[in-house]
Every structure is written in C-alpha cells, then in structure tokens.
C-alpha cells in the first residue's frame, strides 16, 4: 500500500485515529509536542498558558511511569492527541498521556549494545526511532506494530546511533554517532514510507573534495563530525540547519592539521537535495572535543536597526553566536560564561582569537571550559514575550591531556581527554541572555554536582521550566529568574521538559534517569466509581 499522508485529524471524545501532517508540525507547538524541539525553529516556547507565574506553585505530580529496563533515559517525549511516545535504548513506549498507563511498547531485540536514545519522530500514522545499531524503525503509532527496520549506517564502520529523527514533509532526517572513536560522519534523509535513502551528505569530505585538504591523510577517512543531535528547519528557505560534532582523534590534532571541515560546524542543507548551502565552523581544528551539537535556534532579531532572520547558538566553546540564516554571515559572538581561557574572543570573520598554549599537552593543561563545554546538547529556549534566550551554562575547567599515539579507529581511542582538577567542582548557571547582544540579563546558579544534562522550556504562562543537577524539575519566572516551584524527582535528569494539553488541561513532562514524570495543576480528587467488568469472584 502506498503510504500517503492523510489530511484529516479526528478526535472523538477520547478516541484517537488522527494522522500527523507536516503542516501540524509546522504550526507546533500547540496542544501537542510533535517534534524533538517542539517545532522546527528550536525555540522551545509553548503557547500553552494555563500554567502561569501566578499558579505554578500549585503544580503537582499527576503520574509517573517507570521504565524498568532503563539505565539512563535521555528522551524528549513526543505527544499527540493524548498519546505520549518515550524512547529508551532500542525501545519505544506509548503512554496514555492523561494517566501514564502503558498502551504499547516495542523493543528491538536483536541489538547487541545499549546506548542512550534521545527520542522519536511522528508523521502520518507512524512513529519513528533509531536503534543503537543504526536502524531506522517505523511503527504504527496506535499499536506499535513494526512496519520497517532499515539500516542506514553499519556499526562495523564505527557508527552507532542515538539521535531523534526529524520528520519534515516527506523526509526523515537521521544522523550518526561515533565521532569519539573514529568514523566518517554524515547526515541523511530517508523515506517515511519504506526507510529508503533519499540523499546523503557527508560531513567529512572525501579525498580530493573541497575541504579535504583541511585534514591529514591519517584521519580523513575517520574524521568524525558526527550528527548526533537534531537541528532546525526554515520552511521559507527549505533548508536544514544542522550541527556537527568534533573531529577525531578528539584531543590530539597533530595527525589532522588544518581546520578539519566540517567538524564543529553548522551546516545549512537543502531539504530536497541534501546539497550544502553554507557552513560556519565554530571551533576550527578543535582539540577539546567541543562538538557544535548545541541547539540551533532560529530567531528574527533586530540588529543595527534592521530585522534579520538569524540562527543563534550558545556553543560548547563558551561563545554565543549569531549568524545570518540565508548567507551564513557571521554577525556576532560574545562569551556567555566567565570561565573561558582558550580564546580571547572571536574576530570579525568568526574565527577564534586563540590564546597561545591552550592546547592539551602530554602532561596536562588546564583549559576552560571543560570537555562537557560551557553548554551542551540540552535544550535552550526563547520566550517572545520577554525577548530572552534561556541557556543552561556550565562554569568549569578541565585538565586536558593529549597523546600522540598512532590513531586507531573504533577502539575507543580519542587521543585522551579531560578531567576536572581535584577539588574544582564547577557550577551550572541558568542564564537569560539578550539574544541580540548576548548580554546576560539574569542568572540562576545551581548547587549540584554538575552531572545533569537538562535544558529549558519556555511557556506562554511566563514560566521557564528546567531540570537542575540536584534531581529537581524546577520553574522560574521568565522575566527575572525568580524561583517559583520545584519538585524533587529523586534521580538525575538527562533530558529537557516538554509541555502539552490534554482534555483542556496543561501538563509538563520530564524524563529522568529511569522514570517519566508528568505534572499538572492541582485538582481535588474525584471519586471513581467501580465499573462492572462482568467478572465473577
């Protein structure tokens, strides 16, 4: 049967049979959460406003779902018509979003290793996710019946896969991981009908191609530049804005002289053809493992008196960047953390002004920020009412060591790494930035051990939700960062919150280490009558 995206969306008093269209995702987020970042712009701002700064103090837990096989959930749920899709390594769970009851689950049994999984995609009547061994799997979203499981990268070539696919029109955009151990990165578009390849864009050029001369012969074939986080999409340009990861080996650049394109970059890619439109590299010749896998947020900003369509990123290297979305023109960069020692600034071309002597050494060199970076893959958000950009930042430094050992791919060799100096803990700081200038407007420092990977969510009710590194889901006022509410989840958080509406009520969900928690405003309990089941004792 030819797969067709139907136009009708039918909701009948608690019954579901609606198809998700590209147009629905384009208009998102609304009462649903239809894609990894909420919408294609990665603003992560929900128009839902039932939960406000005035009543968020009345937020209470509504339900918890325990994923018994989980070791570390990192999933951003998808929610459509009261059904929530949460992923674990090689698994998908479909939950009744009102009650947290399991409707169906799917496990890819024949996978040899478990790694994290960041989420699913939804389109039509299907839900899609990737397995650790890089199969794109399509399931019927109502009963979890498997439709196809198509391999798009071979683990024997150094790949594993963790990213949430992104569904756009008739494409599923998928990426690969493995850049810390040597592989050749790429981005692909696949068909949601049968999983077949539509196009492939290598993020490391082949010998003789443009950019290949920015590598050395030993590492070109295994250069990394992984694509392990989803990017953004501009429907007017019909372009993807996708982040790429570090070059390999991560911490020793002697075998890869040059900038190492297109590692640590933003690549603008035509959705239809997969052709590269432009690129911007944040950390040329990276030797600190500073993947550019932070959210690429599409905004319209007034700069120098002119409205501009831009893409912004609070990059792992500690600088906040603004780029023109159409041309890739570098417009601005400024530090968003204090602990930043590797570069004095960014020049007028967008290149870092390096501080001499900040590369990893065989003996160890303290450099700020850490390997984890000043920011990382956890979500940022933008609130159009405050005009502020909310970032979870990390103030910390590492001692970086390097090794000139002959690079051997696929054995976990990264050219060594970084570790925190003894006694130097570091600190997460939730910051609100003025996106036009990078100016810090307010800060909310955290007190935990900096082990979380939780980002922010903005809502029309003026609330910023975020996970902290002390096992909480918390809420602050978007205007000034004033604490409003928190809840102790009892376990670390490695994902960012989402919000949705069901039966006219707003809920907030966060996935913690092994459980899915959902919160809503307090309502007095209503007695539930016993229902006759025809069962005899």
């Amino acid at each position: 049967m030819a797969y067709r995206i139907l136009l009708s969306l039918l909701i009948v008093g608690g019954s579901l049979c609606g198809q998700v269209r590209y147009e629905d995702i384009l208009e998102a987020p609304s009462h649903d959460w239809l894609t990894f970042m909420g919408d294609y712009s990665a603003n992560r701002h929900s128009p839902l406003g039932e939960i406000t700064t005035d009543n968020v103090a009345d937020l209470v837990p509504k339900w918890t779902y325990h994923v018994s096989s989980a070791r570390r959930l990192t999933s951003y749920p998808i929610v459509h018509d009261g059904l929530m899709y949460v992923t674990n390594s090689n698994e998908v769970y479909a939950l009744d979003a009102r009650s947290g009851r399991l409707v169906w689950s799917y496990r890819q049994e024949d996978v040899e290793n478990d790694r994290q999984n960041r989420g699913a995609a939804i389109l039509g009547d299907r839900v899609f996710f990737v397995t650790t061994d890089c199969r794109l799997v399509a399931l019927n979203r109502l009963n979890g019946a498997v439709i196809f499981a198509e391999e798009y990268a071979d683990p024997d070539d150094g790949y594993h896969c963790t990213a949430a696919p992104v569904a756009i029109k008739d494409r599923l955009i998928v990426g690969v991981s493995g850049g810390d151990s040597g592989m050749r990165g790429f981005l692909e578009a696949r068909s949601p009908e049968d999983g077949s390849q539509v196009w492939k864009l290598w993020t490391v050029p082949a010998k003789g191609e443009p950019g290949a001369d920015s590598w050395g012969p030993k590492t070109l074939d295994w250069g990394g530049a992984a694509t392990w986080m989803p990017g953004s999409y501009d429907p007017e340009l019909n372009w993807l804005f996708w982040p790429t990861g570090n070059p390999w080996p991560d911490f020793y650049g002697g075998d890869r002289p040059g900038d190492n394109l297109y590692s640590d970059s933003l690549i603008a890619v035509d959705l239809d053809t997969g052709e590269l439109q432009w690129y911007f590299q944040f950390t040329p010749h990276d030797v600190w493992d500073w993947d550019a896998q932070e959210p690429l947020v599409l905004l319209e900003l007034e700069l120098d008196g002119k409205k501009r369509q831009v893409v912004v990123q609070a990059n792992r290297n500690g600088f906040y960047y603004i780029l023109d979305r159409k041309t890739g023109e570098f417009l601005h960069a400024s530090p968003f953390v204090d602990k930043l020692t590797w570069a004095e600034g960014i020049d007028e071309n967008g290149r870092p002004i390096l501080v001499p002597g900040m590369e990893p050494t065989f003996e160890g060199k303290e450099v700020c920020p850490t390997v984890r970076g000043a920011a990382n893959w956890m979500s940022d958000s933008y609130n159009p009412d405050t005009g502020l950009f909310y970032v979870m930042t990390l103030e910390a430094c590492d001692i970086y060591t390097a090794s000139a050992k002959e690079p051997e791919p696929m054995i976990g060799f990264a050219g060594t790494g970084g570790e925190r100096p003894p006694g130097a803990g570091g600190q997460f700081v939730l910051r609100a930035l003025r996106p036009e200038t990078g100016e810090r407007v307010w800060e909310y420092p955290l007190t935990g051990p900096t082990t979380a990977w939780a980002g922010t969510l903005s809502t029309a009710g003026g609330v910023i939700f975020f996970g902290d590194d002390d096992n909480h889901l918390a809420a602050v006022d978007a205007r000034d960062g004033k604490h409003l509410w928190h809840y102790n989840l009892g376990q670390p958080v490695y994902a960012s919150p989402v919000t949705f509406e069901a039966d006219g009520k707003q809920y907030v969900t966060i996935v913690s280490q092994t459980d899915v928690f959902t919160f809503g405003l307090f309502e007095p309990a209503v007695s539930v009558p016993q229902v006759d089941t025809g069962r005899k004792p």
């Binding site: 608690g14 399991l102 409707v103 890819q108 498997v146 209503v526 089941t533």
Partner: protein
C-alpha cells in the same frame, strides 16, 4: 567430545544434527519428555525455564551424566549422539525462524490472507487489523510451538494487551476491542479499525472482559492439515527485526 565452543558450533543450530538428534530423542528421551518435548514424567523441554536457560555445556552434561537426585539417568550414548540430542533439544525452544519449520511459506501466505483471514485482525509490516498482536516478527518472538498454539488454541492464553473486552460507555455507546491496559481508574482499548480509546473509568458504565479470544478457535476444523502446516511455515519466517508490540 566434551564441551567447547567449537564443538557446540559444530552441532547447535545445524539442521542435520538436529534431525539426527530428533531420531535419537524419539528412541531414548520421548518416553519421559513426550514425543514433541511437551513433557510428561520429565519436564517440558520447550517452555521449561531451566532448559531454556541452560548453556550448551549444561545440556550436554545433563544428558550424558543424568541429573542426580532426579529420575534423569545417565546415558551410555557416544558423545556425538548426545550432542545431536542436545542440538535437537535446544532447537525446541529456539525462535521459529531458526527452526526451519516444514511447509510451503508461499502457500501459507495465501492461507494467511485468504482462507484464514488473519490479516483482518493482525498486522504484518503495518498492514492488517489492530485487534490481535503484530505478527511481523512472529519468527523471532515465538518458537514453532508457541505459534502453533497461538493459531490453533487462541484461548489457551491471551497476550498481554490483547484481552478482549466489550465496553459500554456512559453515553450508552459500545466499544468492542482489545484492552491494552486496565486499572481501577482507566482503561485503554483499541478497536479493530485502529480507533484507540483512552478512557477514564468515569466515562465507562460497564466493561465486560471476554473469556474467549476474538480469534476463531476452530482453525483446526476450518483449515486442512496442509493449510495449517503452510500457515505455520509462513508465520515462522516473519522477521522484520525486534519484538512485536506488547504492553
């Protein structure tokens, strides 16, 4: 020929070894364990947890040395013959895909979509009905015995999330389908059309869980022996990868 990995590989999963093992099994083991391994005086070799968890070495040694404290005696058979029996026993609980189930899978496909009408309630690769379990990975998820039981004895056990139910809503309308989950407070039901109902119990007047499966229990009469054989051969080869959906 004591256990080692190379010896295991020489016998385990090999059709010729399994067939020879079957012949020996029938002569030596079936008196206690049943002609098809279903058990009797000795345990069930298909579903028995200890059997399925046993290593290849465990199987070999149990057959050769017997099990002290039980009625399982040691065997005087030569090592090679014991290995063949072990291969046969292992195969009893192996996924159907590995069991080389006899029959014509192409003819079985015609039965599946024709005389048996399985696709009315089951899906394969996303095509079919919603009432029954997804069969896309029947060859991986189940062994031959479980598939056979599922087809011919559907009332023996319900797969989790597929208990038949007839629900009368508070407004008097009726929903007939499979209960995905049930508690004192909510019920999730899917109709064969794919309409999924997420129902708080306040919206339900009555929920009658049926004793009998929605699936016909008379396929052994409706279908000929050849049709049943071919249908099982077809189902045993279904493998997209991974497990079918289950709550």
């Amino acid at each position: 020929m004591p256990w080692d990995a190379a010896t295991s590989a020489e016998f385990m999963g090999k059709p010729e070894a399994i067939e020879k093992g079957r012949e020996s099994y029938l002569l030596v083991c079936s008196g206690c364990h049943g002609a098809t391994g279903e058990g009797g005086r000795g345990p069930n070799l298909i579903t028995g947890r200890n059997i399925r968890r046993a290593t290849d070495a465990d199987l070999f040694e149990s057959i050769q040395n017997g099990i002290p404290g039980s009625d399982m005696p040691p065997s005087p058979l030569p090592d090679e013959q014991i290995w063949q029996i072990a291969a046969f026993v292992r195969n009893l609980s192996a996924p159907a895909l590995e069991q080389n189930v006899p029959g014509d899978p192409d003819a079985g496909r015609a039965v599946y979509y024709g005389a048996a009408g399985c696709n009315n309630c089951h899906m394969i690769r996303g095509e079919g009905g919603f009432l029954g379990p997804d069969l896309s990975n029947a060859g991986i998820k189940g062994n031959f015995n479980s598939i056979r039981e599922g087809v011919l004895e559907p009332n023996k056990r319900f797969s989790p999330g597929f208990r038949p139910v007839v629900v009368t809503l508070a407004d008097g309308t009726t929903v007939k389908g499979s209960a995905k989950n049930n508690s004192n407070y909510s019920l999730q039901v899917i109709e064969n059309s794919g309409k999924l109902h997420l129902l708080p119990k306040q919206k339900i007047r009555e929920a009658n869980f049926q004793e009998a499966s929605w699936m016909p229990a008379d396929y052994s009469q409706r279908l000929s022996e050849d049709e049943v054989r071919d249908l099982l051969a077809f189902l045993s080869r279904q493998a997209v990868g991974g497990a079918p959906s289950k709550p």
